[in-house]
């Protein structure tokens, strides 16, 4: 299975690097939002609560713009049958999950410093801030991968993906925003509780999705 995961990952990265569709969509949204917020709020001191909320709103909508493409593109371009014939169902899910996690981590690596720079954010506890950002990103990726497979089989995909994702991502956003607030507020109060919750949530969603994926993906 490792060979199949690697082949599918390599293919997905090559296709994305050449089309740059999802990466352009996510980065242009995140960049525009960050710069706009930075300009509007320049000189106005923002509380850690507002900063955290803005950061995760940008992450959430960037994910909604980019992460569904991993499955929607296969269905829209009619390539899913070629992939299903060459790659096993479990390997398809795992490779798409890894792809989305890496893709979103790259988006976060681009967005976060820009956000910190434009909003002049002072991070009190860098380790917890970084752990929260990436564990939250992993939780969003794990949830989005399975939902992307579901909506790729349905009509009205763009809106359906966001609508379905939101209720499932509420606990993720709550923990991620909370963790970010703590890392911005006070060095003494910040702990790894929220990043651990986000990692556990990612593991649970990934395990459930792995078990259910074939029922969603195999054509009936």
């Amino acid at each position: 299975m490792a060979g199949e995961i690697f082949r599918n990952l390599l293919k997905d990265f090559r296709v994305e690097l050449r089309s740059r569709f999802a990466v352009n969509l996510s980065i242009s949204f995140a960049g525009t939002m960050t710069v706009s917020i930075g300009i509007v709020t320049s000189g106005v001191p923002l509380s850690p609560q507002i900063i955290s909320l803005l950061l995760w709103m940008i992450f959430f909508f960037s994910a909604m713009n980019g992460l569904s493409h991993i499955f929607v593109r296969e269905v829209d371009q009619g390539t899913f049958m070629f992939m299903n014939n060459k790659i096993g169902t479990d390997a398809v899910y795992l490779s798409k999950l890894i792809y989305n996690a890496v893709f979103f981590a790259v988006i976060q690596v681009f967005i976060t410093p820009v956000f910190i720079f434009f909003l002049q954010v002072e991070v009190k506890c860098a380790a917890v801030f970084i752990a929260t950002v990436f564990s939250g990103g992993l939780a969003i990726s794990a949830t989005s991968t399975f939902l992307a497979a579901m909506v790729s089989r349905a009509g009205g995909r763009g809106s359906l993906f966001t609508i379905m994702s939101f209720p499932i991502l509420i606990p993720v956003l709550w923990a991620a925003i909370n963790g970010t607030i703590r890392s911005l507020e006070n060095r003494a109060a910040c702990g790894l509780g929220n990043p651990f919750f986000l990692l556990a949530f990612s593991g649970m969603i990934a395990a459930l999705s792995f078990l259910l994926f074939r029922h969603v993906w195999i054509e009936e």
Partner: protein
């Protein structure tokens, strides 16, 4: 060489309550070649997808065997070669990258290079598939289907978009492997039908 066989019992497929076919019984194994024929909308594509293990029937069952082992539909699908006009390759990748993706090892061996030569694609393998003609795409899909030397081939209208040379190359390949593989073809082309030992007519 391991034998590949499939045995379908009471196979039924319905779309929104409307039966496409029902109660179908079918046994085929290595060395058999079966043509599925019928009018447009008679269910040829649906049946070949179910037999290839890539679609589930509404009711009934198929037992896939590879050697002595009973295998799952998904395993059968991955062991088999499949090509169809509605199955697309990756337009953003070149021909060679599509074949590497399709290869079980992730690499291209001399057998595949020979196939590319046989189907007249050697000089085009470095070009993006999005720039191929529909006939060249069909040839590449055929190579991707047969390159891992599968025990079974499921071909939905393999003659689609091919010129005379392309058809000749595909037909002669099917002829050369039909004794050592299980070959199932959905077609309305009389020349393709003649390549097969048996045929069934759907909706007739």
């Amino acid at each position: 060489m391991k034998l590949f066989s499939l045995s379908a019992v009471s196979l039924t497929k319905e779309y929104e309550g409307r039966p496409v076919f029902s109660g179908m019984k079918l046994d085929v194994s290595t060395g058999d070649s079966l043509a599925i024929t019928g009018k447009n909308g008679s269910g040829k594509t649906t049946l070949i997808k179910i037999l290839a293990g890539i679609m589930l029937p509404s009711s009934g069952s198929i037992e896939f065997r590879y050697g002595q082992d009973v295998i799952e539909a998904e395993t059968a699908a991955r062991l088999s070669g499949f090509t169809a006009p509605y199955m697309n390759l990756y337009d953003d990748l070149d021909g060679m990258e599509n074949l590497c993706f399709a290869s079980a090892t992730g690499r291209i061996g001399p057998e595949t290079e020979e196939l590319a030569d046989r189907f007249g694609l050697t000089v085009h393998l470095g070009k993006r598939v999005g720039h191929y003609s529909s006939g060249m795409k069909q040839r590449l899909k055929f190579i991707a289907a047969v390159m891992n030397d599968p025990p079974a081939l499921f071909l939905d209208e393999p003659e689609t978009n091919l010129d005379a040379d392309g058809k000749k190359a595909v037909f002669s390949y099917i002829k050369s492997v039909s004794k050592r593989m299980l070959v199932v073809i959905a077609t309305n082309d009389i020349h393709v039908k003649q390549l097969c030992k048996r045929s069934i007519l759907l909706g007739g």
